[in-house]
């Protein structure tokens, strides 16, 4: 299976949200990583067939998804970043509705919904109206609906936003479990979501691909550019002016800082092993969550 974005451009008026974007996905987990406004959601929407590109196309195994129409949509599961639920539907009814939209038979849906409510830890809320759900519960319901049709292509926009740490871990494990024969595309600005599970990470900035690679190769590339520096309150100011600073750890009067710098910032600096967090800082010069 090969899902291919070909020279996709999306313009809103004069503003270009995605510029001449090309990429190829095969089975495995992909992470789209980028700061707010980078264009992740725009790309995801185009992949989910809910937004038409201004230019370019998306092809599945060489066939344009616009020509495939429902045959393509039949293969995908999509979790939008920001989506609605019908407030007066119960979780079960909501999932039955989406199952009907996806063309599942009634008996098939019943069974699948049971499973998914279990997986997403929503079983006890099955008959509760979704209007009362918390953000995290809504997100889990969203994950459940995306998985209803056992999609070959799973597209999820910030799937872990609003999930507590325990649920995050559950979700990551779920993904590794189901991603064997699927294309899974996640967008996030939370590095830890994708650091260990993705085959390939796509760094996006201002609608363009900045860099791609596995987390290993990406971290390897900035080896020798991450430093630990011990300083005090005065020193911190100058450091913050001169370098990209990651974590700051205060211990009494001493302050331990993590710095991204092409060269050794000063003699006392110790080289650190880079993480994806550092990669994010290095390329986007912004703090990740």
């Amino acid at each position: 299976m090969k899902l291919e974005i070909r020279n996709v451009t999306k313009k809103y008026g004069k503003f270009c949200a995605v510029k001449n974007f090309s990429y190829e996905f095969t089975e495995g987990v992909y992470g789209l990583l980028g700061p707010n406004g980078a264009g992740k959601t725009t790309i995801i929407r185009i992949l989910a067939d809910v937004l038409n590109p201004t230019d370019g196309s998306v092809m599945l195994n060489g066939e344009d998804i616009k020509d495939m129409d429902y045959r393509y949509r039949n293969l995908i599961g999509y979790l939008p970043q920001d989506f609605g639920v019908y407030k007066n539907f119960t979780a079960h009814r909501f999932l039955m509705y989406i199952a009907a939209l996806k063309g599942l038979s009634k008996t098939e849906s019943q069974k699948r919904i049971e499973e998914l409510l279990e997986i997403t830890n929503l079983k006890e809320y099955s008959n509760v109206k979704t209007g009362t759900f918390s953000g995290g519960m809504k997100r889990r319901l969203g994950i459940a609906q995306a998985l209803l049709n056992d999609p070959k292509i799973l597209i999820m926009d910030e799937p872990t936003a609003g999930l507590d740490p325990k649920e995050r871990v559950r979700f990551r494990n779920l993904l590794s479990e189901i991603s064997k024969d699927k294309i899974v595309i996640l967008s996030t600005h939370i590095v830890s979501d994708i650091e260990y599970i993705s085959k390939e990470i796509v760094l996006i900035k201002k609608g363009e691909i900045l860099k791609t690679g596995s987390s290993e190769s990406l971290t390897n590339e900035i080896k020798g550019k991450v430093w630990k520096v011990l300083t005090d309150e005065n020193g911190l100011k100058t450091i913050e002016e001169r370098f990209t600073v990651g974590n700051i750890f205060r211990n009494g009067n001493k302050i331990e800082t993590r710095i991204i710098s092409e060269n050794r910032p000063d003699d006392s600096a110790e080289a650190e092993i880079p993480t994806m967090e550092d990669v994010f800082l290095y390329y986007f010069d912004e703090l990740s969550e």
Partner: protein, 372 residues
């Protein structure tokens, strides 16, 4: 089927529509209360009709004429009800006698012009259609007590059409808008049936909702006027209703015409429902389609009421299609592609075309819709 059930649930789970139905019904019960006096008159009418119903013959005409003379010596303070009943009845008898004369004059005049007019000219065709229709239906020749049906047939164009319009606007405006507004469109558009079957289910749900609305208010009319005046006269030929249908092109019993009227109201309601649906598929906030449809529905009504000239621009409005003002009461002829056509026959061509255009537009717009 599953999709349709959910679409129906979305429409019918809105408390607003039930609140509106209750308010409108209470409102009209109050306005009905105001015509209570008329009710007394009707009661008198009813009483005096017993035994005098049926074809008008010379004996009845004589009696009516005699009543006209006796009236001067009558003391009607003594028995008001009987006086009202008798005078209404006898005036009606004399009216029918006049009507019969007018009718035969009209027929012979029409025959004359038909022989003079150029056959195949548009004027000739119009004259011929009128002649044949009236000849077939005949003229009003009897009096029956039909007060209930008079009211039932009229109440739609009097006020009930407004209720139907309002309910359709309230129920249908959110159908697409709410999906957009609640951001459900994301998930819907990415699903297999989101750009096909779902749209059909929404349209079907709107049809069922329109049937529901028309049924509810039809029942309301039947129950209120039925209890006030009774259902007597349901099998009388339409032309013999007490009011308004003397020159009807419909040659059939009242009950059959009533059903035809309901079907036409339903056809019009669904046409309007589709219009609201089009507006709904264009807007994110359902107040916008509600407002636009409200305007489209009310402006023709208001300009009819106050005789504004705007009215002349549109031959048929959605309001007309639901209101059916004057429907079946006279020979209404429309020039359809150079051929004269009875108005209701024209509607039977016009409405399906309107459906086809509306439904295509709904498909086109909602498939083209994108998330934002």
């Amino acid at each position: 089927m599953e999709l349709l059930k959910d679409e129906l649930y979305k429409i019918f789970s809105k408390k607003l529509i039930y609140a509106a139905i209750i308010i409108l019904i209470i409102y009209s019960l109050f306005t009905m209360h105001e015509v209570g006096d008329l009710h007394i008159v009707k009661g008198a009418y009813n009483k005096y009709f017993e035994g005098y119903e049926g074809k008008i013959d010379s004996e009845k005409i004589e009696r009516a004429k005699k009543f006209g003379k006796d009236i001067e010596n009558m003391d009607f303070r003594e028995n008001r009800e009987e006086f009202f009943g008798k005078s209404l009845y006898h005036i009606e008898v004399l009216n029918i006698e006049n009507h019969k004369e007018n009718y035969s004059n009209w027929i012979s005049k029409s025959e004359e012009s038909l022989s003079k007019l150029e056959p195949n000219s548009y004027k000739y065709k119009v004259e011929k259609l009128e002649y044949e229709t009236l000849k077939k239906t005949g003229y009003k020749d009897s009096i029956y007590y039909t007060a209930g049906w008079d009211e039932i047939l009229e109440s739609n164009s009097y006020i009930v059409f407004l209720f139907i319009g309002i309910l359709i606007i309230l129920g249908v405006s959110p159908v697409f808008s709410e999906e957009y507004n609640s951001k459900m469109d994301n998930i819907i558009l990415s699903s297999r049936h989101g750009k096909g079957k779902l749209i059909l289910s929404k349209i079907t749900a709107v049809l069922i909702y329109c049937i529901f609305v028309v049924l509810i208010f039809s029942l309301f009319e039947l129950i209120t006027y039925g209890t006030l005046y009774g259902f007597k006269g349901y099998n009388v030929p339409l032309k013999n209703l007490q009011r308004l249908y003397d020159c009807t092109p419909f040659d059939m019993p009242v009950i059959k015409f009533y059903l035809i009227q309901r079907i036409f109201i339903l056809l019009g309601s669904f046409a309007f429902g589709l219009f609201v649906l089009i507006m709904s598929s264009l807007c994110k906030n359902y107040l916008v389609p509600a407002f636009i449809s409200g305007m489209v529905f009310l402006v023709p009504y208001v300009s009819d009421t106050f005789n504004f000239p705007v009215r002349k621009i549109f031959a048929v409005t959605y309001t007309d299609l639901i209101r059916l003002d004057g429907f079946g009461q006279g020979i209404d002829i429309i020039n359809f592609l150079g051929n004269p056509m009875l108005y209701h026959n024209f509607l039977l061509i016009f409405i399906p075309v309107l459906y086809a255009v509306s439904i295509s537009l709904i498909y086109f717009l909602s498939i083209r819709h994108q998330v934002s």
